[in-house]
């Protein structure tokens, strides 16, 4: 697998580390009412068979966190963006 890093170009899998689902969002609230949202955020995943937005870290390159759109059945990568959008 090769990931087309916006800074570094297409690089081999061995340069990256994987974190997981990029769509989960850290809750803003730390009130008890946010309990379910926190458990969801930390533990529950859609884990789809198909397109998956996911976070990769280019540790052997520019150290960017990337949001990669990849098909979990074919491994085809259709989009790569910086996770820190708009910076």
């Amino acid at each position: 697998m090769r990931i087309n890093c916006p800074y570094c170009g297409a690089r081999g899998l061995e340069e990256f580390t994987y974190r997981g689902d990029a769509t989960v969002k850290r809750p803003e609230s730390i009130e008890e009412s946010a309990r379910d949202a926190w458990v969801d955020y930390v533990y529950l995943r859609d884990n789809p068979a198909g397109l998956h937005k996911e976070l990769w870290h280019h540790g052997a390159g520019c150290h960017s966190w990337l949001e990669v759109t990849r098909n979990t059945v074919t491994h085809e990568i259709t989009a790569v963006e910086l996770a820190a959008k708009g910076r």
Binding site: L13, G20, D40, V42, A49
Partner: protein, 416 residues
């Protein structure tokens, strides 16, 4: 047909023409007491124990492909009960005990080979962690021995003791651990369940669940609707996909674990060995191939295949541990889908849907757990109560914080 020396000879004399199918190929009945979704090791062992231990035989095992086509036929065949945490060790030790009596129980030779599992360590810190683990094993009645470097050398003289980047300083050894002929586990349990009346329905994918008023009433399949009082999932790497059809979201990711076998060679390795400074574990099959694996590829996937970096990483670990294997050749590599849970430990539990049960999240531990998983799952399905050995394997542990995190890696599946 019971297997015995007499039946073997009788059949040999008649040119082996009278052997009967090991299992029937029935059409599904309109409904069952229990439908088990997934004809892998766990599904079939669950069916066996439901029938044998609980007398529940109006059961169907529904498999989308052929039985044993998933991880039970793709793993590296290692069985052991060398776990650390109280939530795990009694369960895996019970599994070990069931392995020890398996062949007599199911009248099928699954070649349970208690050749020992050796985990080598390379530092004082690693030794201390292994001591903690070995003592936990002894506390729960399992066997464990701490070996010094010379004792390790006596077991595996060809390990790199003299020129290693991370020298081997000793090992934790579980003599009762070993290997089991993986396919035979599926076939043996399947044959036993079938002989007790369980219907094994192959090539029949489940396409949906019928849920009425919060209660399961059956499954939609490629062969039509099949009614059921209880439905039990045991689909490993497909857990999220299947559970999603019942509206459930799981603390699980699907990952691929590659495995490898070399060409057959005369006996070299008499025990199971795992490397402590990299990702490599290995045993030699009775056929002669070195069977080994390493780490998961590390990204969510539903493809039963991996990529080259992990292949290289595993080979590097192998060469670092046993530099004599450089000229042995990898014959085949393959991949299986792991149901990697968020804390590295499994789930055997009810779901929010009445009558729908879940078994999954096995990470690397699925094969060795097969007997105990079936035993405890059957208990849960039959009695509605978790089996004491699996009492910790609950969904609510993530909310409460009672996680069972053997490696201390936190909520990231690919690190377990």
């Amino acid at each position: 047909m019971r297997y015995s020396l007499a039946s073997l000879i009788t059949n040999a004399l008649s040119g082996n023409r009278n052997w009967k199918p090991v299992w029937r190929e029935p059409e599904p009945k309109p409904s069952y007491d229990v439908i088990i979704v997934g004809g892998g090791g766990h599904g079939l062992s669950t069916a066996h124990y439901l029938a044998k231990e609980h007398g529940i035989t109006n059961v169907a095992v529904i498999e989308k492909s052929y039985i044993g086509s998933g991880n039970v036929g793709r793993n590296t065949t290692i069985v052991r009960s060398n776990y650390l945490l109280p939530g795990n060790e009694p369960f895996y030790e019970w599994s070990m005990k069931l392995w020890e009596g398996l062949e007599q129980d199911i009248n099928y030779n699954a070649m349970v080979s208690q050749r020992g599992v050796l985990n080598v360590f390379h530092s004082d810190g690693q030794r201390d962690a292994f001591v903690r683990r070995g003592n936990a094993m002894r506390f729960y009645g399992a066997d464990a021995e701490l070996l010094d470097k010379e004792q390790v050398r006596a077991l595996v003289p060809f390990v790199d003791f003299d020129n290693a980047r991370f020298p081997v300083r000793g090992g934790l050894f579980q003599p009762r651990g070993g290997t089991v002929r993986h396919d035979a586990v599926a076939w043996g349990y399947g044959r036993s369940a079938d002989s007790r009346g369980v219907d094994i329905i192959q090539n029949c994918a489940v396409t949906g669940f019928r849920i009425e008023n919060g209660r399961i009433v059956g499954v939609e399949t490629e062969k039509g609707f099949i009614g059921a009082k209880k439905v039990a999932l045991a689909v490993a790497g497909s857990s999220s996909r299947v559970a999603q059809m019942a509206g459930l979201r799981l603390p699980i990711e699907a990952h691929v674990l590659q495995a490898f076998v070399t060409e057959g060679i005369k006996p070299l390795l008499d025990t199971v060995i795992t490397f402590g400074a990299g990702h490599f574990y290995c045993s030699q099959s009775d056929k002669g191939g070195l069977v080994f694996g390493g780490d998961i590829d590390g990204y969510n996937t539903y493809a039963q295949r991996g990529n080259l970096p992990v292949v290289e990483d595993v080979a590097e670990g192998g060469m670092a541990l046993i530099p004599a294997i450089g000229r042995l050749r990898i014959l085949r590599s393959w991949g299986g889908l792991l149901d990697m849970s968020m804390d590295g430990s499994p789930i055997i539990d009810k779901t929010p849907v009445d009558g729908l049960y879940f078994n999954g999240g096995w990470c690397y531990g699925g094969f060795k757990a097969t007997p105990a998983s079936g035993w405890c799952y059957a208990h849960l399905i039959a009695t509605g109560e978790p089996h004491p050995y699996a009492a910790a394997y609950r969904f609510d542990r993530f909310g409460s914080g009672r996680v069972i995190d053997e490696k201390g890696m936190g909520a990231q599946p690919n690190l377990h």
